[in-house]
């Protein structure tokens, strides 16, 4: 004989409340957690008061291991050996997380605090810092005079030149990898990947030897742009490849079925469909190179003037401007360096955010 659902009980059941009994911790565990959290803190406070060891050192070298130990002991007392390993991992990984937050905050915070000194004077926003150049400025000149306008222009020029070279070639490479059926495709991918590992200084050395030492060209914005292009190309190609892969095959076969040539399919159908992705690839490429200093130190050097000719003379750029001012013993110069660093970081953040926003849009389009 079977039992059938008794509908009268439904009234009882509807009075039930959803519960999570697994989240309740027994009293013993709570006691241990309290001890594990408070005891190390108390001990450290005592040590701090009675010895000379400075605070931050104390925190890391003594508090952290003590906390680890306490957590481990608490876990062993309540959950046995397995619990000890788990609690160690949890404490350590929280520690790692805090560590990275602290570093990032320190970097960004110092940029803002010290960089603003250069950008913000007694009368408010110091636009002269953004727009003037450094002619007639020496390191001890007060901050109201001179600025990094020439460096901003230099960076923009160099990045523009690099993009004009790296973007078409990068996208063409991505097209080759995704659209062309050939035996060479895996080799091309390999070379692009290998290229992404070239250290920035090597790129600079290369342009230096091939074009400058041989006399074909001066140190100039153009040379810097070429060095940047070498670094930019793999990023653009790889991101563009990923994006092109996402375009459904049906789009291409549909266009071919309508009688289009291969070339037109790619140029008029696939690329426009991947528009946001391609733009993201370009932005990521620019973000990758915009702060690179080493290649410029060899190829475009530096300058105090505003140069508009990309071929003739050495030119200033934000990274090299910072480099020159970093270790000088004049506080004014150091402040200029921070100011330039702040401007550079803002540029990078803008590019970074743009790429994020576009990236999200791109994913949404395929839902």
């Amino acid at each position: 004989m079977t039992q059938v659902l008794d509908r009268e009980q439904i009234a009882e059941w509807s009075a039930q409340q959803p519960q999570r009994p697994w989240t309740k911790k027994p009293a013993r565990l709570q006691a241990w957690i309290a001890v594990a959290a408070l005891l190390p803190a108390a001990l450290v406070a005592l040590i701090f008061m009675y010895t000379e060891i400075p605070g931050p050192v104390l925190l890391v070298a003594i508090y952290f291991p003590l906390q680890l130990l306490a957590a481990g002991i608490a876990a062993v007392a309540t959950k046995g050996r397995q619990g000890a390993a788990d609690s160690v991992i949890i404490v350590l990984s929280v520690g790692a997380t805090l560590f990275s937050f602290i570093i990032l905050t320190s970097v960004l915070g110092s940029l803002i605090v010290r960089g603003l000194e250069a950008l913000w004077g007694e009368d408010g926003f110091r636009s002269s810092f953004l727009f003037q150049n450094n002619v007639y400025i020496n390191p001890s000149t007060p901050l109201e005079y001179g600025g990094l306008g020439h460096a901003v222009i230099g960076t923009l020029m160099i990045v523009l030149i690099a993009s004009l070279i790296a973007v078409p070639i990068g996208i063409a490479t991505a097209i080759y990898i995704t659209e062309v059926r050939g035996r060479a495709v895996p080799y091309v991918r390999f070379f692009v990947q290998a290229m992404s590992g070239i250290p920035s200084i090597v790129a600079g050395l290369f342009i230096l030897t091939v074009l400058i030492v041989s006399g074909a060209m001066n140190q100039s914005a153009f040379a810097g742009g070429l060095a940047y292009a070498i670094l930019m190309l793999p990023t653009v190609a790889r991101t563009a490849e990923e994006v092109l892969r996402l375009i459904p095959e049906d789009l291409r076969t549909g266009a071919l079925a309508l009688g289009s040539t291969r070339a037109r399919v790619v140029l008029r159908v696939v690329i426009p469909a991947a528009k946001t992705g391609v733009i993201t690839a370009i932005i990521l490429g620019v973000a990758r190179v915009i702060g690179e200093t080493a290649p410029l130190l060899l190829t475009s050097l530096k300058s105090d003037q505003t140069i508009l000719n990309p071929l003739a003379d050495p030119i200033a750029a934000l990274p090299t401007y910072i480099f020159d001012n970093v270790a000088l013993p004049y506080p004014g110069a150091v402040t200029r360096a921070w100011g330039a660093a702040l401007v550079l970081m803002i540029l990078v953040l803008i590019l970074f955010t743009l790429a994020r926003i576009l990236g999200r849009d791109r994913l949404n389009r395929f839902r």
């Binding site: 079977t2 039992q3 439904i10 027994p26």
Partner: protein, 285 residues
């Protein structure tokens, strides 16, 4: 006819009183190893199961049948405390194992999961381990200590019906086995931690008919020492393998309920609810 209409018939009223008597009879069927009392399950705010009362007698096989999506898999996960690992999970009611509520605050879920094991629909041996390593992996993962590892490997693989096929290649990778063999390996792995109950969530639905029959054989053998609960879509399988059956059903936008439960022969031979009759005759699901 709809649920409400059926329940207002005289037939239904009569059945309910008879039901109470028989329920008392049922209870004296043997020691109950595991039972759920008034278990309701939520994901976030959505109630997906309500008032599940099932008792699993020791060393029997109980089949849970019903159309897809009515909460059977969710239900068995409340029996070994896997349900709580899903974000947003909540429940009401109690699950008694050997008389004690497994959700009490002083019960260690690891202990429960060692006593109440689980086999999943898709065979999931650990690809980075050998066959031998897989069988013993439960010991490493839970920290349970047992001696005589070689004996354990042989015993469990024999109980799972796989020993003869792999005894010469215990150190080869688990990924090289066929689907049916992998599932039997998974069963051996579950047995190595010596559970008293084994929960099986559609263990044969991804396998070919030959492997399915082999595993059903294994299930019948295992039930002499272990209590088994098996979720299945295959009604012939339920008939072949189980002693008791519970039929789950969920109407649209309603939580799932156990409509009818009892000895398998009765559920399939003389079901008392119209919906059970329709389901076991293949009229829906």
């Amino acid at each position: 006819m709809s649920t409400a209409e059926y329940e207002s018939t005289a037939e239904y009223e009569g059945d309910v009183t008879v039901l109470e008597e028989q329920f008392m009879e049922q209870k004296s069927v043997g020691p109950i190893e595991l039972e759920s009392q008034d278990v309701s399950v939520w994901f976030g705010q959505r109630k997906v199961l309500e008032g599940v009362n099932i008792a699993f007698p020791k060393n029997t096989v109980t089949a849970l049948i019903g159309p897809s999506g009515c909460g059977k898999s969710t239900y068995i996960r409340t029996l070994n405390r896997l349900h709580e690992l899903i974000p947003g999970a909540a429940l009401a009611g109690s699950v008694l194992y050997e008389g004690k509520d497994i959700y009490d605050t002083d019960i260690d879920p690891v202990h429960i999961r060692l006593q109440i094991g689980m086999v999943f629909q898709k065979p999931n041996p650990f690809p980075s381990m050998t066959i031998r390593g897989n069988v013993l992996s439960g010991l490493k993962l839970s920290g349970l200590k047992r001696d005589q590892h070689d004996d354990i490997v042989e015993e469990t693989l024999t109980s799972a019906g796989l020993w003869n096929e792999v005894k010469d290649r215990l150190d080869s990778a688990a990924g090289e086995l066929s689907g049916g063999q992998q599932q039997r390996l998974v069963i051996a792995r579950a047995l190595a931690v010596q559970p008293h109950v084994l929960l099986m969530d559609e263990p044969c639905s991804a396998l070919d008919p030959t492997s399915t029959l082999k595993i059903e054989e294994t299930i019948r053998e295992l039930s002499k020492d272990i209590t088994i609960v098996i979720v299945t879509h295959n009604m012939q399988q339920a008939v072949r393998v189980s002693d008791y059956t519970a039929f789950f059903l969920a109407a649209e936008n309603e939580p799932g309920y156990v409509i009818e439960q009892g000895p398998t022969t009765d559920i399939f031979g003389s079901p008392r609810d119209q919906r059970t009759l329709d389901y076991v005759n293949g009229r829906f699901g």
